[in-house]
Symmetry: none
Subunit: 219 residues, 4 copies
């Protein structure tokens, strides 16, 4: 009350604020969903008051959009690069991509965005469209590119690229979704071992697409 050393109620850090708020919002949106996330809690988790949040984001929806936008852009470029310039066998390329994805996205807070978008796409068609164009479409193209490379080089069977692309992405996406839904339950059996999961996934997929000839020597 009359303590002479009152802690300042805030410190000036305009530049850092938006990022802190976005990080807090990402966490809570992912954990609870859009509607169940109270802006009070976002602010609290960012260490500021509710009002401060409104200095940086016009309203809850804008915050949501910013969370998605902010976490979407940076990772895909790299992967596209790799696919475009890779030298080795396409099987190797696929291993590279799968592990790279896991290290850079799947095993990262970024995986939460996927969960968020799946859960809220219906409520935010506009954001969903944006996400589809910026992430899904580009990611799909990259995978398709890889599959075509494998086919063209005679390594892969001649498969329906478009469908395989979707099927191939599914196990990776599911791993992310699991982490942010049932994975949180932490019950023994429900726990997945991502490493083993990835290994099996790669093995299964390669057996699924490689020509029989290519299989025997490699394993």
């Amino acid at each position: 009350m009359n303590c002479p050393f009152k802690k300042p109620r805030w410190t000036r850090r305009k530049e850092a604020r938006p990022q802190e708020l976005l990080a807090a919002a990402l966490d809570l949106f992912v954990e609870r969903g859009y509607a169940a996330t109270r802006l009070d809690d976002v602010a609290a988790q960012a260490g500021v008051s509710k009002g401060t949040l409104y200095l940086y984001f016009a309203n809850k929806e804008e915050l949501f959009k910013a969370v998605v936008r902010e976490n979407v852009v940076p990772v895909l470029g790299e992967a596209e690069e790799i696919v475009g310039s890779f030298q080795g066998s396409t099987a190797e390329l696929f291993r590279e991509i799968a592990h790279g994805w896991w290290d850079r996205i799947g095993n990262t807070k970024l995986s939460g965005i996927t969960k968020l978008m799946v859960a809220e796409a219906n409520n935010f068609p506009e954001v969903a469209r944006f996400y589809h164009e910026e992430v899904i479409h580009r990611g799909n193209a990259m995978i398709a590119h890889m599959l075509e490379r494998g086919i063209e080089r005679g390594e892969f069977r001649s498969i329906d690229v478009k469908q395989a692309m979707n099927i191939l992405c599914a196990p990776m996406i599911m791993l992310m979704l699991w982490k942010h839904s049932f994975g949180a339950l932490g019950h023994g059996e429900a726990a997945m071992s991502p490493d083993k999961y990835l290994d099996s996934f790669i093995d299964l997929f390669l057996h699924g697409v490689l020509k029989p000839a290519a299989l025997t020597p490699s394993r």
Copy 2:
């Protein structure tokens, strides 16, 4: 008005009421998510008053749980039956299961439950645990059972059943999630063709697990 012999214009089995409410709730929960679904609307869609809803369900959460429980459990028995008593090759069994799932669940309103659970698992750990035990665990066991059958009968390679089980489910689950998230956007490329998707999925998976010997004759 006070005619003592007024015959009711219609009669309805009292037992039917909860089902109508559950159906309405399923529709709306799936369409809008848990929080965005107003009990007013559920009641209205079921053709009853809001108060009536509370005669059958203690509160919104119980309604949600009932929706999940009611819609989810009965479908699994059938599938377990099939796996247990199937006579043909395991590849045939898999085709059977995949198409059966699509007809009975994936292509049905029930697919919305999956989306719902992924989106809300964190908010309802209790329901999530129930769902995990009653649905995911049983479904997984069934798939594992099938994989083991294939291995034991010498049809499938010797793979890590536990991981393969998860990986195998992913494309089917994703198809359901897609339907209730980005699928609703309806933009040209985003649209998936479930039939082709299923065919490719089956083909890819069988190539992934069948022994090379078993592959050549079949295609």
Copy 3:
């Protein structure tokens, strides 16, 4: 707490509610202005809870509009009737109108609407326009009608009817505004005596418009 004779929290009176709420809202809007009126208080004054208000009015603005609309329409018809069918001298007609207005509007809660509209016209152009058409315009027409009658019958000087109409209304409107602004201060001198005010007004106005010939005999 455990009193066995709990008073019912509400009584069913759907039909009466809107009127009660409108009356309460009129009082408070007039007294405090639109912005300073809390819907909590409106509800409390009407003896219901805040939520109830929203059963009848979509939001604060709609409540405001309803308050204006509801209190505005009914009174003017009468006056128009009188002007149209009056038999005596126009001076008498004017006295009739002035006193009638005072009894039916000026000295009534309805006068508050005038204050309200003057204070809030800028913030609700739509309502202002409605009020202008339904009240001001009709009221003006009635006064103009009376003035023209006086001129046509040779009782009044030939004046600019349109301007005189506005000027003539001013003292009556001011009396209403005063009641709901400074009049509430209740300080000795500020208090106006409406009766004397009306008498002086009538006298002054008639001297202002009557032809000299008509003046001498009457006073």
Copy 4:
């Protein structure tokens, strides 16, 4: 950056600051009303930061009071002067006053203060009282003075000065209120022509008070 001789690009008299703030506040209070005026906007319109406002005014209410006080008092002295020292006929004096009022107040931003006070008198009894004493009372006294002058000099009829004073002010006040309420609607008929209005007002009033003898020659 740390050049010790940086000359300020501009200098401004510190004393001018409050005036700019008062001017901005007057504009916005008049345009939007007390509650709807944000101090942010006042500061912005005055070209300073919000914090600066609080260097000069303790809070919003004090700013409001200052706006009223500052703009209202100085104008009355002049008018009192004129009434006290006028040489010609009282009819001439009245014309002088009416036109002077229109030029110095009615047709000025200051007219907004009147509207403001009518709208907010109830919410600020203290300001209302101040306004009543400093403005209304003095204004009334001046008008009464003029009326008495007319009566004493045998120009005016012997009327109830106190009432006539109020009635006489009404049309002028109404013209100001109109400007800031319905006048803003700008619809054809609602538009008043202040010049004609003033002429008619003067004519009507003089006919109302002048003795018949004084009337005939002048018109």
